[in-house]
């Protein structure tokens, strides 16, 4: 059983096929898929990510309202957004919402994921129900919650002991709370799924050994399950961070950046600048800043966590 885990089967198949090649060239020995297989993905990535990214970078140094030809203005857009209090504020809001996302969703999804990985009765049915929010579009989810949280006809009207006057969208703290809650409601299932898969992959022998040594359920969770989930936690956190930095629809539909500019996060501010105000130069500058920030943060997480080295967590299993 253990040998099956340590020698992963996927590489076995191409190796066999490569050996059969008559010319015995270098590629055949390494047995990697040919470059041709990377072409579709590369073409798509270049066409829909690299090319637009370069265009956005160029546009961020230009003034353009969509009419006529863009005009080169140097650093003008960049100095303008650097001096813009709404922009500065939007960065803090973005970081806050991202942090809230990680703090709320990680413990929830680890617990749910580990639970869903077990084989209790009803587990399959309940898990299926938990995953429903994942199937809905962010737009639908936001419209749904906006209606559910209406102060006169929604939940707050029935639970005044909790919500008071129900002015959830009229104050910064509660508006941010709603945004964090709705994102958590929608995305916890995705991360639960990641943890469920990872928890299933933890070899049972570890638990059997722990049981023999007399470790209880909590000790097993903290000393086997959590350490074994380490890489999944990092994967899930990177997804949350990148997702948090680029959150958009929830703000667009739930708060429209309001009250005032209290929930205007960077991605939404970019939309306001570019597609409402037709100031594409400033919009491009904000977008590029977001791309750079998201890349740096992801790199830091990867470095700090040692994810790039991808050490095995199964010392002593085989």
């Amino acid at each position: 059983m253990t040998t099956q885990i340590t020698s992963p089967p996927p590489t076995a198949e191409p190796r066999k096929r490569a050996r059969r090649r008559p010319d015995g060239s270098y590629t055949a020995k390494v047995a990697r898929p040919g470059f041709g297989w990377a072409v579709p993905a590369t073409v798509f990535f270049a066409l829909f990510a690299i090319v637009p990214l370069i265009a956005v970078a160029v546009l961020s140094f230009m003034s353009w309202n969509g009419l006529g030809s863009p005009e080169f203005v140097g650093m003008d857009n960049w100095t303008r957004i650097a001096d813009d209090p709404v922009m500065i504020n939007s960065i803090w809001l973005t970081l806050l919402l991202t942090a809230l996302g990680v703090i709320i969703q990680t413990p929830l999804s680890i617990l749910l994921g580990v639970w869903a990985a077990g084989n209790q009765r009803n587990r399959a049915v309940l898990s299926a129900i938990y995953f429903i929010p994942l199937l809905l579009s962010s737009t639908a989810v936001s419209v749904l919650w906006r209606a559910l949280l209406d102060p006169n006809f929604g939940i707050p009207a029935r639970a005044t002991w909790l919500f008071g006057d129900g002015n959830l969208f009229g104050k910064q703290a509660t508006a941010i709370g709603v945004l964090a809650f709705v994102s958590a409601w929608q995305f916890t299932p995705l991360h639960t799924l990641i943890y469920q898969g990872a928890a299933r992959a933890i070899p049972q022998v570890l638990y059997q050994a722990a049981e023999i040594d007399g470790a209880g359920r909590y000790r097993q969770f903290f000393h086997i399950t959590l350490p074994q989930l380490r890489n999944s936690i990092i994967t899930s956190m990177i997804l949350m961070i990148v997702g948090g930095l680029t959150t958009f629809e929830t703000v667009l539909i739930l708060t429209q950046g309001g009250p005032g500019t209290d929930t205007t996060i960077s991605a939404y501010y970019m939309y306001q600048k570019a597609f409402k105000g037709f100031d594409f130069g400033a919009g491009a500058a904000i977008a590029l800043a977001l791309v750079v920030a998201a890349t740096i943060i992801s790199l830091i997480v990867v470095k700090v966590s040692g994810y790039d080295k991808m050490r095995s967590d199964m010392e002593g299993v085989s």
Binding site: R21, G66, P151, N152, P156, G258, P259, G277
Partner: protein, 434 residues
């Protein structure tokens, strides 16, 4: 073996290339434009109103040698899409817009044809339309648009039953409104429903109060670039009266969590939980759809209260004056475009618009008022607009698009107290005027 390995590779590459080509081809698929295919392309905001535009295009094509083609862009994306195609070869010949600030950037970019020549040849292109409406598509003294749908003045709607229960008459003056607020509050309802979450319903209160107190001149000056207008005594008076209204609890406490667009604020009025709501004239048909019984029995409407001592005429209105057709300078068929625009004051046009519930702004509309679905309501609006000394286009449509978001933010922040008088004045002074 070798060929077998290569085949999928080839297929994959081929499929990718084909996909890429189809995708890039989508870009220029939605035809039309000033590229001369011997037709004029008419671009319109896509919604239920297109029925009439289709009919008018068909009528035009019966007699015209140059044929017209109707292109539509569905609702919300209209302005963005228009902005991206208007300076390309895909641009239409004639297009739908909101007048004022929505066409100002196009005028500045020298894309639009002034209609003065058309009007010289056929004066009806101007004198058949109500002047207060026609004027909102005049930029820098030149006419750029012909009204082509219905007018939507902002009115003060009420729930007659709620008012009666609280012993309140529809207010004619500002003081009566404040008094009504007090009484309605005492009877346990929200005096005025406000969809503050959408932000633009809040703006309507500013538009009316500024007009009543200072007359249309203040806003015209501010729009023209005179930033000091916002700092005037009249401006401060309007703000202090708005503050008084908000502080009196006129809108309740949670108006920023209420939206008009998801039906929450009209439901407050229809279900008797609020007394008034200030909204565009489309409110009537909205209530007919959402709450038919209420709309038929208890839905009342009046003009905005007057403010004693204010400089604005009591007959002034604010709102959406109408939608307009503008013509691109580079059209190959200006004569055909002029002929097409003449249909916008025809009897057929008026009848067709009335049939779908719109109220056109031509002088001959008066003849057909009795054919409207609710003749009283149609006549009330028509008289209001026809007699209005000034019809102020909504601020967020009068200013160029880059000002829309800052305006919406400022009005919301003034209502919820994040901005005081000076803060609001500064925010308005910072708006781009061109």
């Amino acid at each position: 073996m070798k060929t077998r390995a290569r085949l999928p590779r080839l297929v994959a590459c081929g499929a990718t290339l084909a996909l890429a080509l189809t995708l890039s081809a989508c870009g220029d698929g939605n035809g039309g434009g000033s590229s001369d295919d011997g037709k004029i392309h008419v671009l319109v905001y896509g919604d239920a109103g297109n029925k009439v535009e289709k009919q008018i295009v068909d009528t035009f094509n019966k007699t015209s040698k140059v044929k017209a083609v109707l292109d539509t862009i569905p609702g919300a994306d209209y302005q963005q899409k228009l902005q991206t195609i208007i300076s390309t070869p895909n641009a239409p010949d004639i297009f739908y817009n909101w007048g004022g600030g929505s066409i100002q950037p196009f005028v500045k970019a020298d894309l639009l044809l002034p209609l003065d020549d058309f009007i010289r040849k056929d004066p009806h292109l101007k004198d058949q339309f109500l002047p207060s409406v026609f004027n909102s598509a005049v930029v820098d003294g030149k006419a750029y648009g012909i009204p082509m749908r219905g007018t939507q003045p902002v009115l003060l709607f009420n729930n007659k039953k709620v008012l009666k229960d609280a012993g309140v008459e529809p207010p004619k003056t500002w003081d009566e409104l404040l008094d009504a607020v007090k009484k309605l509050k005492a009877s346990g309802v929200t005096p005025i429903a406000l969809g503050g979450g959408d932000q633009w319903p809040t703006l309507m209160w500013f538009e009316y109060l500024y007009d009543r107190i200072a007359g249309p001149g203040l806003f015209e000056k501010a729009l023209g670039g005179d930033k000091e207008a916002w700092n005037s005594a009249d401006s401060k008076k309007a703000l202090s009266m708005l503050r008084e209204l908000v502080d009196a609890g006129a809108f309740g406490k949670n108006y920023d969590s209420v939206k008009y667009t998801n039906g929450a604020s009209p439901a407050l009025v229809a279900q008797g939980k609020a007394g008034f709501e200030l909204m565009g004239s489309w409110y009537y048909s909205q209530q007919l759809e959402d709450a038919k019984e209420f709309a038929g029995k208890d839905l009342g409407y009046t003009t905005f209260p007057t403010v004693p001592g204010g400089k604005g005429e009591p007959g002034n209105v604010v709102g959406n004056t109408n939608n307009f057709y503008s013509v691109l300078k580079k059209t190959k068929h200006p004569e055909a475009a002029a002929e097409f625009l003449k249909l916008m004051y025809s009897d057929e046009f008026v009848k067709a618009q009335m049939a779908i519930g719109n109220l056109p702004t031509t002088t001959n509309t008066e003849k057909f008022l009795d054919t409207a679905a609710s003749p009283d309501y149609a006549r009330f609006q028509y008289d209001l607009v026809a007699k209005a000394p000034s019809f102020q286009l909504s601020w967020d449509q009068a200013y160029p698009p880059s000002a829309i978001t800052p305006i919406h933010q400022a009005v919301q922040q003034f209502f919820n107290g994040q901005l005081d008088e000076d803060g609001f004045i500064k925010a308005m002074q910072a708006l781009p005027t061109e």
